[in-house]
Symmetry: C2
Subunit: 294 residues, 2 copies
């Protein structure tokens, strides 16, 4: 149901060459080339760089998210027209930051996933970067910290995820016998999630005037690995309050400061939404309302 | 203590240009250029592609792991010569697959990390790919499934991590009322860790003759996300036995087949090891001996 010129464009990009795209679509190479040229003429933009492999131009890249949306619309329409048994599950790619995936996100989507017979392709990235996945057409919706929607998209506020600064009691006794002081913080090993992660930087800069990188830190890009590092007494760091709660209750971790780092999360999606995406967005918004603070 | 030609080479790569490297090292651009040329002449290889940004040639890339090792050796030597207070912690980058990081790895390294005052930079990748990180000099040691060491390295067998195929009782009742049959497996949503992950493919191919991609699957690149998907009844998949155990005991998950997928893990490191790396390797080997099966 998708324009055959778009299909040719997509196949060339996926296969990396006009020749392989022609083979996959069982067409001649000149037919493929002709279709892409027609599309370029209609849009008044060159879409492909004829390199090896073929790459999209900036204009071609901007076309990708629309193509992903068209594919989804097509799948949903086919499902709506066919009896339930005849179609497989619907595949949806969503961007989500690791801490949301480890905490509230799965509970939010579980019911819709089952009822709508979906399979999710979760693309995990730092919360400040999931946004780019949407612009590239890699995902159809994403959890992000950015409030401003990209062109053609909308952003809905999900709520606040508070992070607290925690470490094991033994760690506190060794590194912070006099509390969180500037000189102790310059030496105590921190735990950060990724090389992109700047919550810790921001905290130390704002409250203690320490610059980024002026403190030793473990890099542990795994939500449960991060927690295990903290519980094992190897470092201290910012953990979602909801995830830290049971460890605090068991005395495995202690809260090192009354300060909280608040992360405001948004759900970004294309303005024109398919019915399934709209339902998913609604479920995510409602679950976030329960799991996150206002 | 590192050859000044190597330092120039490294700075150009890190900064992306001769000009910025010169600024960082407070040298003239021609001095930097001269040093790199001398290194290239001595090794008889072109090491840098003079593009924007400057990139390493294949030969230049092969030099990177040696540079990482030299840096580590230098740091360790400085620590050995200086009083404890005078130096900061030693930074070690290690490659580890997500399931090891979520299970046995942290317990294995915790003591050495504390005693040697290390900060770890954990680079998480699929177990079949951590190997490449070592070759690129991104890490100094890694947990990998590959038994064959790369040139200049050694590989030590750590043990076997058995995976079982699990899902929630409700999921089993809905999708596998007659057990794991070929037709049920072609429809039931699986959970796979990443787009690279081929344990599930291998299992379905070997036992049921199903080809890769012939079954719907969620992609959940997070160890605890994977588990939460299974517990929520959204799919079934292969989970490390050690991680599944408590969920099986609580009845949240059931074991779907007596089959196990065994993953043999190896610790890869450079043959010439610094004292700290050797101690870390020993601790990892011993902990693996306890945590993994023979």
């Amino acid at each position: 149901m998708i324009d055959h010129r778009l299909i040719a464009f997509e196949a060339v990009l996926q296969e990396g060459s006009f020749e392989r795209a022609a083979r996959r679509l069982a067409l001649t190479q000149s037919a493929i080339s002709q279709r892409v040229k027609l599309l370029e003429a209609e849009l008044g933009q060159v879409l492909l760089v004829r390199s090896k492999p073929v790459r999209p131009t900036p204009a071609g890249r901007r076309l990708l998210p629309y193509l992903a949306q068209l594919r989804l619309m097509e799948s949903e329409a086919r499902r709506a027209l066919a009896p339930r048994q005849a179609h497989g599950p619907l595949r949806l790619a969503v961007g989500v930051n690791a801490d949301s995936l480890a905490t509230w996100f799965i509970g939010a989507v579980a019911e819709v996933v089952k009822e709508e017979d979906l399979v999710l392709d979760c693309v995990v990235d730092d919360q400040d970067h999931t946004h780019a996945l949407l612009a590239d057409g890699e995902v159809l919706g994403c959890v992000s910290t950015r409030p401003d929607p990209i062109r053609g998209c909308a952003a809905e506020r999900l709520g606040v995820m508070p992070y607290l600064c925690a470490g094991s009691p033994e760690f506190r006794a060794r590194w912070f016998p006099h509390g969180l002081t500037r000189s102790a913080l310059a030496k105590a090993p921190a735990i950060v999630f990724g090389r992109h992660d700047d919550m810790h930087d921001a905290f130390l800069r704002r409250h203690f005037g320490l610059d980024a990188g002026q403190y030793p830190h473990h890099v542990v890009p795994s939500s449960e690995g991060f927690m295990a590092f903290a519980v094992a007494g190897l470092g201290y760091g910012f953990i979602p309050e909801v995830q830290a709660r049971e460890h605090l209750a068991r005395g495995e971790l202690v809260d090192l400061t009354p300060e909280r780092e608040d992360v405001v999360l948004y759900w970004h999606h294309w303005q024109v939404q398919s019915p399934v995406m709209a339902r998913l967005a609604k479920a995510i918004g409602e679950a976030a309302g329960r799991a996150l603070t206002g």
